[in-house]
Symmetry: C2
Subunit: 210 residues, 2 copies
């Protein structure tokens, strides 16, 4: 398979989200219909999907259920993933109550914190364990993905400990750069980046561009 | 200006973040150096930047300070933006304490909630006002961007009220689709989408793809 850029993967996720929303209502979809809500173009859609050997029928479009299957397979979403949330402050607590995760195939199976008041309790049915037990508990519960919601100064150390415990991927909310630690995959959730997408749109609109 | 795709804007933000990190240490940067940490290619970098008339000098690279100026201007970041957070639950509270916003030019100037216990208090120096006063307060304080951290069922109504009050752009954390309301720009922060970027990487690694 050719190397796929991060932004192409992002588009595939957007196509899948859209397709899941219309599944059952619609059997076929055109590249144009897929492009519009994903902020893409129909040429881009066709190019993205052809990378994976998914070809629509000329003049008819793509089969919605087939395309869902293909995209789920490519994105690794034909199965569920076991997630740990590290840090149960405001953000971490919000994550433990976030329905959008399990709906999309991500099960938060455990959380970690340093606060002895929180350790041993549960939130939304999820156990909060001591950060000191992280390595053991991560292995016992088969955690595959860690979400880091600790203060930024803790994040680097937590990533190392998760990597040592065999966690394959990390999504960090700490607004600092965390390098990839091959083979672990690390991503940073960057709120400012999303806001910059908005300010770009506002600025180009004010300048009279389309 | 040509229409710029959402993913191109995203790349511009990533280039800018990288450039700001090295400003002062380095005078010139090659397209290759810009590409690597942004998950892009040097050809893509050159193409992205040429859209805005920013051309590196052959064999030397781009001027770091010039490129920062150009990208800030394109992304609308040569100025600061006034932001309101709607919903001061766990997520909203976390946002009011998030340093990454003001560091990148976004000032949270007010927050809104329905809870009478919270209304009239402040958190991290930010006033929490009643949601009933939203239209008036948004106008008085010149809010330009709204961040929605309410329960999903409230989000749609809040977007309408923000639009009526003249807010230009909204970033929503509610895991539901909110259509654009021209001229207001609406984006949804999608945690599952970020996680899908990780599962794609894990899945293609396991399949032995590069």
């Amino acid at each position: 398979m050719k190397k796929i850029s991060e932004s192409a993967v992002r588009r595939l996720s957007l196509y899948l989200r859209l397709l899941r929303g219309i599944a059952g209502d619609q059997e076929l979809i055109s590249s144009q219909e897929l492009a519009e809500p994903s902020g893409s173009t129909s040429a881009q859609v066709r190019k993205d999907l052809s990378l994976f050997g998914s070809f629509g029928q000329r003049g008819k479009g793509y089969s919605v259920p087939e395309l869902i299957d293909t995209l789920e397979r490519i994105l690794g979403l034909e199965r569920r993933w076991r997630v740990a949330v590290v840090g149960v402050g405001k953000l971490g607590s919000a994550l433990l109550g976030y329905r959008g995760l399990s709906e999309r195939g991500f099960d938060v199976v455990v959380a970690f914190d340093v606060d002895t008041e929180k350790v041993g309790t549960e939130l939304n049915g999820i156990d909060i364990c001591s950060i000191d037990s992280l390595s053991r508990v991560v292995r016992e519960r088969g955690v595959e993905i860690g979400i880091i919601a600790t203060p930024p100064e803790e994040a680097e150390g937590i990533v190392s400990r998760l990597a040592d415990a065999g966690v394959s991927a990390v999504l960090s909310f700490a607004p600092i750069e965390l390098g990839n630690r091959d083979p672990m995959v690390v991503r940073t959730m960057d709120l400012a980046l999303e806001l910059e997408g908005l300010t770009f749109a506002l600025t180009s609109a004010r300048n009279g561009d389309s």
